[in-house]
Every structure is written in C-alpha cells, then in structure tokens.
Amino acid sequence: MRPGAIILAIAVCAPRAVRADGVTATVGGGLDVAHDGTGVAWGTRVTIGSRDLLGLELGFVGTDHALAGGGSLDGNAVDAAVRLAPWPRHAWTPYAFAGLGWQRYDTSGSMMRAPADAPTWPAGGGLQFRLGGGVVLDARATYRASTIDSWTAGASLGLEL
C-alpha cells in the first residue's frame, strides 16, 4: 500500500473512531528480526473500534538488538494504523493493518553510529482472541519498512472495554 493511500485511510477512519465500538489496550512483546539478527521487542497499543470492521490503532514499539563487537541498537517507534477485521465480533478475530509512524534508533556502548530518524510504514496481520471478562489475547506479525527494515512477531495481553 502506498503512503498516500495509508494517510487517506487513516484520515477517513479517524472520524469513525469517535463513535467506535470497542476500545482495546494491550501490552506485550516478542522478537524483532532485522538485517543484523534477532532482537527483542516490546510495546503497547490502543485499538479504537476493536469491535468494528475498521478500527484505528495507536502504538509504541521498542526494540533492542545486540551489535557485533559490543553495544546495542535501540529502536523506538510510534505509529498509527488502520485495522481491518472482517469478523470483528467473533471470539477469534483475524485482522490486517497498515499505517505510518516515526522510527528512531540509538546506539550505546558501541563504535557504530545510529541511523537517522525516519518515517516507518508498518503493515501486517494478527489474531485477537477474546478470553472473556473483557480480557483479550493478541498475536500479530508486523513488517516495518524504515531505515532498517524489520519483522516483528509477538503476543500481547489486554482489556477490551
């Protein structure tokens, strides 16, 4: 999906979010695979309209990769995405998402300089399972195009209000 289409989709979805059905907040983590190997990822995400066909996601993702020769590459990204869930009220809700965000990297304890801050284009899919009592379990995979392209796979736990 082209960046312009993502921005247009978010602009269209934002007003719908005001009268959205279902707000879900989750925390979780997983693995982040980039060109230099596998690291750890963590984050938090709010989905506005989690019981709607179209929802709006706002999230933060942090990553850490150990660098060869010592030190670490630390990533922080914030993003917004449109979420499409064909069966949004089922106990098992599959969904796809695409959006945009801002990615920054920092290195520490290393001879390597961090790449510059850059836009990021996250896209992927996942499965949300409603455990009952408003508790949700979410598993997702995200491809994040940016200065350093990466794959993140993880799980998170949260509440749907």
Binding site: G28, G62, V78, D106, S108, M111, V135, L157, L159
Partner: protein
C-alpha cells in the same frame, strides 16, 4: 420506612449489586484520560526529546569502591546478552506478568473489576518512569560501560550519562509492588503468586542491568527502593477504593453492606 423500601426495590431491580465505594464509569473515563496523558508525557520525554534532554557530560563520573567491586563481581563477559535479557525481563515479562496475573487473580469478575485493578498498576509504572527520567537527566551519572571504555572505542551517545537510577529496575519493582498491593488489598488468593513472580522478575532485572554494565549496583538498588515506594503508594493514595470491597445488597429487612472491612 418508605424510603428504605424504595431503595431496596431499586437495588433489587438492578441486575447486579451496586458498589457502594467503587469508581463510576465516569471516573473510569477520567482514569483512562489520566493514564493516556501520563503515557504520552513519558513517550514525549523518552522518545521525542531524549537527545535534547540527555546530558552530554557527566557531573557524577567516578564510581565508589562498593560500585567498582560489585561491577567486577557481577558484570558478564557478554554484556550485550545481559542487556537484551534485561529488556526481555523488564519490558516484556514484568509488564505481562503484572497485568496477566492480576487479571487471572480477579477471574470471574467483569471488565470493570479488571480495569480497576490494572489501571493503578499501569499508572504506578508510568509514574515511576517519569520520576526516574527527571532524575537521570538531572543527576548525569556516567554509566559504567562509558566510564571504563578504552579511549577511542566508543561513539558518544545520549545514553552515556544517565546511569542514576536504573529505570528498568524502578519500573519492574513498581509493577511488582503495585500488582502485589492491588491483589493483596482485594484479598485475591493468587496474591502471593503475584508478589513472588513480580519481585523475582524485578530482582533479576536489577541484577541483569549490572551484568550488562549499564548500571552500578547503587543505581539498581536505588531503582528498587524508588520503584517499591511508588508501587506501594500509588494504589493506596490515588486509588483508595481498592480493598474496600463493600457491596450494598438487598435483604428481607432492607439493605445490608457486605464486604471486607
């Protein structure tokens, strides 16, 4: 008498007992706004302006004998592995354990109870992180990896002079103690499991931060103390209704208040 009867009828007509001392849905909306604002403030400080806020030189540069000795004793050969593991315990396992076990401890209740239980934990974690952030840029203590680096082997980074105190450690202790405080105040049977798991992960995180050469022992110990204080005080002071499980229920003679006192 008529008044008592009317109240009894109204309460009886309700599908569930009315909470006499709990938050309303309006209060929950305010809590959501407060939590969002706290989280946004932290993200702006940590992600948005960390380069501008972080000190470029240290004002507290040399370690004392205790810290130097503890570093020699506890630092791993592969510090990058310890750093990654500390991120996994501090940012993934500890939040999931605090939220997940608290929800599990309160199983059988609806989303309102889970929300009321989890929000103080989230807020305590963010509050501890905000206090730590202000402190670390103010104190400007040099990290051990930067202090002991051989000349010419390190590209200066915004992370080099923000050692005091350990944010990973204060975060995990705030999560552990707030989750333990909430579940104990509620009288949940799983409260001891919540305490043991949370404090175990927090202690492991503090140790790993020293093993990773990211912090001195006094950074981790101070983080543990500060996280404990915030984790205990936040649910008690900001959410005082937790632990007052008082329900008003109809009886044959009118109303009765039942719960833990």
């Amino acid at each position: 008498m008529i008044c008592r009867l009317a109240v009894a009828l109204a309460v009886t007509a309700a599908a569930r007992p009315a909470r006499a001392d709990g938050p309303s849905d309006r209060t929950r909306e305010v809590e959501a706004a407060v939590t969002t604002a706290m989280g946004a403030a932290y993200l702006v400080a940590e992600v948005g302006f960390s380069r501008q806020l972080s000190p470029t030189t240290c004002t507290w540069c040399d370690p004392d004998g205790f810290d130097a000795g503890a570093r020699n004793l506890l630092r791993w050969r592969d510090t990058s592995l310890a750093n990654t593991l500390s991120d996994a315990t501090g940012y993934v396992s500890a939040p999931l354990a605090a939220a997940g076990l608290t929800i599990l401890a309160g199983r059988g209740h609806d989303w309102r109870r889970h929300y009321d239980d989890v929000v103080p934990i989230v807020q305590a974690a963010i509050a501890a992180s905000l206090v730590q952030h202000v402190t670390k840029v103010t104190v400007a203590r040099q990290r051990p990896y930067a202090h002991y680096a051989a000349p010419g082997t390190l590209v200066p980074s915004e992370e080099d002079n923000v050692s005091f105190w350990s944010g990973h450690t204060s975060l995990t202790f705030a999560l552990a103690v707030s989750a333990g405080t909430v579940t104990s105040s509620r009288g949940y049977a799983l409260a001891p499991v919540v305490w043991a798991t949370g404090l175990g992960l927090a202690a492991a995180t503090g140790y790993l931060r020293i093993a990773a050469d990211r912090h001195y022992a006094t950074d981790a110990l101070t983080g543990a103390v500060m996280g404990t204080l915030v984790g205990y005080a936040w649910p008690k002071l900001v959410h005082p209704w937790i632990g007052r499980d008082v329900d008003v229920v109809p009886t044959a003679n009118g109303l009765a208040a039942v719960g833990r006192f």
